[in-house]
Amino acid sequence: MANPIKPDNSVVTTCAYCGVGCGFKAETYEGRVVRMIPWKEGKANHGHSCIKGRFAFDYYISPERVLTPLIRTTIDEPWRSVGWPEAIEYAAKGLRRVQEKFGRTSVGAVSSSRCTNEEIFLTQKFARAVLGNNNIDNCARICHSPTQFGLSATVGWGAASQHFDSILQADVIMVVGANPTEGHPVFGSLMKRRIRQGAKLIVLDPRQTESVKSPHLKADVHLPLRPGTNVAVLDSISHVVVRENLYAEDFIRARCEWHEFENWAALVGSDQYAPEVIGPLAGIDPQDIRKAARLYAGGPNSAIYYGLGVTEHSQGSTGVMCLGNLALACGMLGREGVGVNPLRGQGNVQGGSCLGSWPHVFSGYRFVTDDAVRASFEKDWGVTLDSEPGLRLPNMFDAALTGHFRGMYIMGEDPVQSDPNQNHIVEAMRRMEFVILHDLFLNETSKYAHVFLPGSSSLEKDGTFTSAERRVNRVRKVVEPMAGYQDWEIVVMLMNAMGYPAEYSNAGEILDEIARLSPAYQGLSFALLDRVGSAQWPCNESAPEGTEVLHTKSFPRANGRGTFMLTEYVPTAERTSDRFPLLLTTGRILTQYNVGTQTRRTPNTRWHSEDRLEISREDAEARGIRDGEWVQLTSRFGTTKLRAQFSTRVNAGVVYTTFHHAKSRVNRVTSDLSDWATNCPEYKVTAVEVTRVEQASETATAKRKKQKALEMA
């Protein structure tokens, strides 16, 4: 049925779901959004959209939204509704009280990739200039922090080398640990279009995802590798490139550090990475590894797209380096149709990464330990800044358990639901003296907060998002902030209440400050974006309207050359055993988004009302599990219950689930292991056992009986 409401106004803005960054015309009637129309001029989507951006916007008027600030003295008390001035003063005093009692470094902040660049930048300024420490992190910590680390190490910048449209020049597309048709649907459609035109497709994924086989799409090579073996398999692909002389020597000699190539070639070229060795280890056919290597190296244009299936591992950063190494070795960087491209989960993960919401770098990935960089910020902000890196998000929780971390400002995050090893996080939250949560909803984390500041959705504020293709898009206020303030205004109030004078008359002035202090954003302003629509960084004097393809002439490293990192495969400590013989891995589906804070509050739940555990028939039958039955999922970290779903998408030995619903509590089960370089959690590999629920309770009863018998004996 056609929408009967004729809109009386419209504003062009950017979707806040995945990292594609689609442009939408938000149409309103009497101040309420009635339709989201995909915008034809949107440079990422060209008038296309997915089911989330198009339909899942009603969360902003959900009756569950909290519209007044709430405070309480302890987390056991009920919330008390108060006015903004009282809430801000209470919040400011609370953080200062903790600092006075436990020291300057006992508090910190975390920002969200659902917030704008301006808000993210301001939150890190709040931590550094107002709290006086570098305990600032953002949710990219738990998704793409290895991207920043691994790509910075090899090609210089932790960002996609291409624009999305570049895929239309690709002859070979390699998708690693990503499922674009579900997770990044508009880009997924573009990929399908190129495949229909004849491009070859290689997919590395433990699961037979929709990107392996679905209408208009079938992978030429699918490597259904065992979770946790990415680095081994990617090194093995490189082994074939080296041993069969498929590498681009001219490119490497002209554009890369040849001596580091030689070191790398010696490592991956060694017999230990031969497909015949790695194939059996990863559960794949060695010939398929060879086929993938030859296809990729043969190009002529080969492009890599990857996701959290690469990063969320104990060797996540190493996996990203493997991709950088491989692309450099095959000369697949610096022109259209090639490249290494992270697919970002949230609308502004790239912006979160760029804008200094990290404990070790300012905006532009520049180290806090660098005196010259720090001096430029000190001059602009008028305060002395801490020269030492702060705590990362997982370390903040660890430090809460030892009593060294006592207070936190959480902007637009739900660590209790989204961070791994939930029991550990809950205990850490309980130990904190003072927690400020700034969000749309009373999420799981709110149970442990002392102040709730009601935020604004992306429909209610001005600013910019940086998409996965480095595109800085305008976010425009479509409706008035329901709780009274845009999120950046709330941070400004908090800064002033804590004694740091901050004044911005609009979000554009924050972007001006970002441009002043971050070389890649130098040329960006609201005026430019209003004129050209959007621009990809680097945007500066030599590229006044931005840059589509990176690394065309040199790499952003001191000598201008790309380099190779040694990427030894180190198996994760998370192993299967007799008790936990299966490997659990996780993913997303088209209609829902992350932990579902937004999409669960829209009619999109019709298509996905619960998370299910995909299990092979073989593993299910061995456990007496019937299709659709409730099962208990247990790891050494915790347990939860889900409904089983027989699936041919997973091989025996692997089970899979989405994590869109809070009631599934998947993160009670996930492991506390993390990436060696960034502490990005290893969500993608957890050893588990699956049992029928009745059987599970029988086991527990049997155990109790046994214990009783022992006591009596």
């Binding site: 009692k101 436990f102 020291g103 300057r104 470094t105 006992s106 006086g132 910075s152 190490a153 210089g156 910048w157 932790g158 960002a159 550090e257 001596h259 580091e260 490592l267 060797q315 190493t318 760029c354 404990p359 070790h360 532009g364 990935y365 520049r366 180290f367 330990t369 660098d370 005196d371 960089v373 801490d386 030492e388 890196p389 705590l391 370390n395 660890d398 430090a399 358990l401 030892t402 009593g403 060294h404 971050s518 070389p519 890649a520 952003p556 490293r557 001191a558 000598n559 201008g560 050359r561 380099t563 190779f564 990192m565 040694l566 030894e568 180190v570 400590a573 060696w676 370089a677 502490n679």
Partner: protein, 115 residues
């Protein structure tokens, strides 16, 4: 500014087991590099990414015997005491020889242009 912290339950900022695991994982990554570069890689990583209290806890633990830490992790961590350039860098760990080969004028530890 003071980092004074009067009232802590535990002496170390993170549980020591966690710190040891993290340090050894870093060591595992740099293990394939020749000894001098391996140690420098570990030093650079700890210096650039770890909160100073975590570094201090690790050094204290090493002073007390360093049980459970891989020997070359200890070697890299001890370089922190040398006061070498605290400014971090991305990319392969460097020694004098690789810096010479890399050859660019002004290729400092940084090895990186800001974004």
């Amino acid at each position: 500014m003071s980092t004074g912290s009067p009232d802590h339950d535990d002496k170390t900022v993170l549980g020591m087991d966690r710190l040891i695991t993290m340090a050894n994982q870093i060591g595992d990554f740099f293990a394939p590099y020749p000894p001098e570069r391996r140690a420098e890689g570990i030093r650079n990583h700890l210096r650039t990414y770890w909160d100073p209290r975590m570094r201090a806890d690790l050094l204290d633990y090493i002073a007390a015997g360093g049980d459970g830490l891989k020997p070359f992790v200890v070697e890299g961590a001890l370089l922190l005491k040398s006061g070498a350039d605290p400014t971090g860098y991305y990319g392969p760990p460097q020694d004098a020889e690789t810096r010479r080969i890399a050859g660019a004028a002004g290729l400092t530890r940084r090895g990186h242009n800001p974004a």
